[in-house]
Symmetry: C2
Amino acid sequence: MRQPVDKTRSGRLRATIVDVANQAGVHVSTASRALNPKTDHRISSKMVGKIRRIAEQLGYSPNPLASSLRTQRTGTVGLIVPNLSDPLFAPIIASVQERAASDGYVTFVASSEYKPDKLLSIIETMSRHYVAGLVVASFELADPAADLCLALGVPTVAVLRDPGHHGISSIAMDDVEGMKAMVAHVLDLGHRDIAYITAPLAASTARNRLAGFAAAAALRSQAGFRFDVIEADAYDVDEGTRVVGRMLADGARSTAILCFNDLLAVGALLALRTAGIVCPEQVSVAGVNDLPFMGLLSPPLTSLHNAGRTLGQVGAELLMKLIADKDHPVTRVLLPSPVVIRGSTGPAPFATGTGQAPARKLAKRPAPR
Amino acid sequence: MRQPVDKTRSGRLRATIVDVANQAGVHVSTASRALNPKTDHRISSKMVGKIRRIAEQLGYSPNPLASSLRTQRTGTVGLIVPNLSDPLFAPIIASVQERAASDGYVTFVASSEYKPDKLLSIIETMSRHYVAGLVVASFELADPAADLCLALGVPTVAVLRDPGHHGISSIAMDDVEGMKAMVAHVLDLGHRDIAYITAPLAASTARNRLAGFAAAAALRSQAGFRFDVIEADAYDVDEGTRVVGRMLADGARSTAILCFNDLLAVGALLALRTAGIVCPEQVSVAGVNDLPFMGLLSPPLTSLHNAGRTLGQVGAELLMKLIADKDHPVTRVLLPSPVVIRGSTGPAPFATGTGQAPARKLAKRPAPR
DNA sequence: TAAGTTAGAGCAAACGTTTGCCCTTGACTC
DNA sequence: GAGTCAAGGGCAAACGTTTGCTCTAACTTA
């Protein structure tokens, strides 16, 4: 005698497929097939109707754990970002989530905290949870984590940062061209002494933006132009303040400071303000990513557009294809990253148009108000 | 004859507990007990050692799906926010995630998009996935979703917004006191005609901030004081611009505009700027939440502090307790929400200190630059 | 020394699905 | 009218754990 299912067990009152089958007077396998659109052709249509009706009325919905255990597939995808608090990732998280949900997937989000080992262990964990696929925004260049994803056989899409792995599809901003355009912008404004604050070069974004800067600089390698690169150790506002503070203390003469991202740029603005240097009249500043509110700062920040939502959406879309078709070709997408010109970049002081800027230290002037 | 486990199946090469048991020459139940610290006292310690060693060397880790199916428990918690893109929720997401992870839980994040039905269906889904508990930042007042959580028997903590349900623990900001303090602040500055832009009153936050505003207003119900309430339909910058645009068009005379949140306040600033009204000289503006960068706007925004990280951390902590002990008493935590005074609030124009402000329309003046 | 206790380990059921295979039945073919 | 076939449905194993129960042997205790 089969015990009737105890509906009150553990506080969960959920009908199982055997309840449905019993009620319909059929075998559980029949119920299973009838409920699954992929297999319901094996069952007579009136039986399908009956079983569906009973399932509905019992409020049956399949237990994803049991189903996944049997099929070795789940309805979940994983999303890994390097930092959950950085506003840069908010639209990516939101859009990946939305896109995945529209295909019936729920999303695990995890933060790798910019730590390569943590990334590895998260991937391990997610794989153990049988995620159907992974969207990763944390890859570094030649990241062993990319190999791990492939070894584990989990479909993976890189967003924002491209590990440069031949087996991993990716979607990212065109940082090289973006940065070239940014340099062109400040050159147009007459700047001849330009500094670029880069982030640690482990990430493709950092590498590419530096490459763009360097490429643009190479075109003006003549006398009268000066291009400096300073390396920051972090990605946040404080680091920007520290770095620019040091630059000023070292007597830097740059009239334009381009930053790896907006947070560093905001830090730069603060450091300049503290030093009594007026932006953009004395020094221009620009960032990358065009975070929310950057247009409302004073001065409003010039930046490179970052299509966070598109990144996430297209990335998730790509992942869905990869999941559906294991042999989907590896694809690589680059999104244009145009310069968003605002008030923090302006004409170079004493610009002569000849390319020969007079030697000059950043003067301390009282902050305007 | 048992077939040897096919390690290459479906691309996943994972040792199971039966591999460990076979290798150790013991029954799988013995292996299971040896591997579980809760039950390993039932097995001789040298056997435990041997089995652990073999497990390690085989790279065994338990399949969470199978384990959860059997135990009806998972190592996952759910987090539901109303909007993934709002910077307000970023620190909450990050901190819940961190705190849960430190207890070995992975986190599902979902967005209810401010839609009550969507919230219900997300809770349903998560419950089906056997989440161990739920952190919910989307509750409305007297939300049926709160009943659902209880009915499903899933431990739940409300953060930020309190559904006011006797069975649900919560942690939130003290919006009533915060708003009172904000009103006191602008009264101190001499303002006598104060407007408050509220959000839809479905949420406890909206209700409480309005209550705080009303309570503070009640103390000055004498002639010469005027307190207006305008209801916004949304929570974003655009809505703030629209609402304040309408107010101006309607000839509002308020010299201080308090807003439900920073996004509305930013919208208010934009509308004022468009109208050529100078903040704070002509009209003061304040928000709530103190989002990142609000101190860098021009003018820097006065706001109420929001302890997002604490909210998430304490909320998750509370959830861990609830999970560990089903009979943990329902607790309610309120965090102080002090006024962060910045440049967007200033002395009332024509302030006399007598409480009798002269009738005056908001004058259009050219925007300064 | 007989009875009772305990430690250590195995047995098998259970969690809720899915799916390859088999069986029955009725229709169709030659 | 015997053989073929397809449709419709049942059987039982499998996914990888956990856990109540049983069994055996060794160890106490009176």
